[in-house]
């Protein structure tokens, strides 16, 4: 018993690192193992509910304030379905959604030139559509700025964020 108490209260210092006594280490390991059991179980049970898409890289996102600062050197693209666009959209925005991509793309392209940045937005609740539209503009239409850099961005917070900032 005396030995145990001494071991508990005296950490050993070796090469500037503190080694806690083996007893505490074992207890910590047991706790970690116990925490892992439900975590692993949950991971297996919810394996079908994981997000399938990685987050949009920060370099491809733009805030409402940044996008507004671009002024006339940007084009706003509304990626939402036609009905939502008809209900309201950013002033001057062009509708370009994947429901009618082949029909709407030729209407958007004449408005673009390499000195213009493209700001794609959709509803914050379903913002994957803006991501998809931005991806197609980059990959299929291969839009780039004059220096060959990305010029297509997704609006952070989407239509709802724009509304909030413009009230």
């Amino acid at each position: 018993m005396r030995w145990r108490l001494r071991r508990r209260t005296r950490p050993v210092q070796r090469n500037n690192e503190i080694f806690v006594s083996g007893h505490w280490l074992r207890q910590a390991a047991v706790l970690v193992l116990f925490a892992l059991v439900p975590a692993i179980g949950e991971a297996i049970y919810f394996r079908d509910k994981v997000s399938w898409q990685s987050p949009i890289p920060a370099s491809e996102l733009v805030t409402v304030d940044q996008a507004r600062a671009w002024g006339d050197s940007s084009i706003w693209v509304d990626a939402r379905p036609d009905e939502e666009f008809a209900r309201g959209h950013v002033t001057g925005a062009v509708s370009l959604n994947e429901d009618r991509w082949n029909e709407l793309l030729p209407q958007f392209l004449p408005k673009w030139s390499p000195d213009k940045k493209v700001v794609v937005y959709c509803s914050a609740q379903s913002c994957n559509v803006a991501r998809e539209v931005a991806k197609r503009l980059r990959d299929e239409a291969q839009l780039k700025d004059g220096e060959g850099k990305n010029c297509v961005f997704v609006l952070q917070g989407g239509w709802e964020e724009w509304l909030k900032k413009n009230r």
Binding site: D99, L109, P110
Partner: protein, 241 residues
């Protein structure tokens, strides 16, 4: 220590025993619609394995392109049913992931919300890159190349390109099995203009498929982009894919 471990273990088992009343056969559906299909439908089957009825509070799709509905509002104990998610393909291509959020009145908050995932691989007969070529105003009118590759399931042998533009010309050249190069060239680049060139395949014979490549001459810098003439309607009416 032993008592603590026992209590902890018991609490874990008790939590696990609090199972959901609505048991889903699957929460992910993989769909492989055929080329040209307009819709893809997923069926998510469930059963109420609990002892009390379950009520659906809401069934909400993540995207306007997906309509989701439940067969019934209330599911009695032991009863089976399904949630149907209809995904409208539109002009989408590639891997599509859509979700449907189902909320029930299950007293267990972790089981009250279920996310159903619909994954659909939308095939396209051709891979066209790029789908857009442009020249700056005053730029030398050199030809630009678009590469077209047919998918394995689409045995097209020939492609033709139609244009209603007087400014752009297009030349198709085979570049190997199921592959073509289309050279697009403007006659001059002094005026901003735009067009949609229609690519048509010889397959399937009874209903050849059409695709579009957009070509334009951009206005000089500092000239409003709306000075560019919007392309006339596609030569063969609305685009198809």
């Amino acid at each position: 220590m032993k008592t603590r471990i026992l209590t902890f273990t018991l609490s874990i088992f008790l939590c696990a025993a609090a199972r959901a009343e609505l048991k889903w056969e699957q929460t992910t559906a993989d769909l492989h619609p055929a080329i040209g299909d307009k819709q893809a439908v997923a069926h998510f089957k469930y059963q109420n394995v609990g002892t009390t009825p379950v009520h659906f509070k809401s069934v909400h799709a993540s995207c306007g392109c997906t309509a989701a509905q439940s067969q019934k509002e209330q599911v009695a104990p032991g009863e089976k049913g399904e949630v149907t998610a209809t995904f409208s393909i539109g002009d989408r291509t590639g891997q599509q992931v859509k979700t449907v959020t189902v909320q029930t009145d299950d007293p267990n908050p972790t089981q009250a919300t279920t996310i159903l995932t619909l994954r659909a691989m939308i095939g396209t007969p051709f891979e066209i890159k790029p789908t857009f070529v442009y020249w700056q105003s005053g730029e030398e009118p050199k030809p630009k190349t678009v590469v077209v590759k047919a998918s394995k399931d689409f045995p097209a042998k020939n492609l033709t390109v139609k244009s209603n533009s007087q400014v752009f010309t297009a030349k198709v050249e085979p570049a190997g099995a199921g592959e073509w190069k289309i050279e697009i060239q403007p006659k001059e680049t002094s005026h901003p203009t735009a067009t949609a060139l229609m690519i048509q395949s010889d397959f399937p014979k009874e209903a050849p498929r059409s695709f579009y490549v957009n070509a334009q001459v951009n206005p000089p810098v500092n000239v409003p982009a709306n000075a560019v003439a919007t392309p006339a309607k596609n030569p063969a009416g609305p685009a198809q894919q």
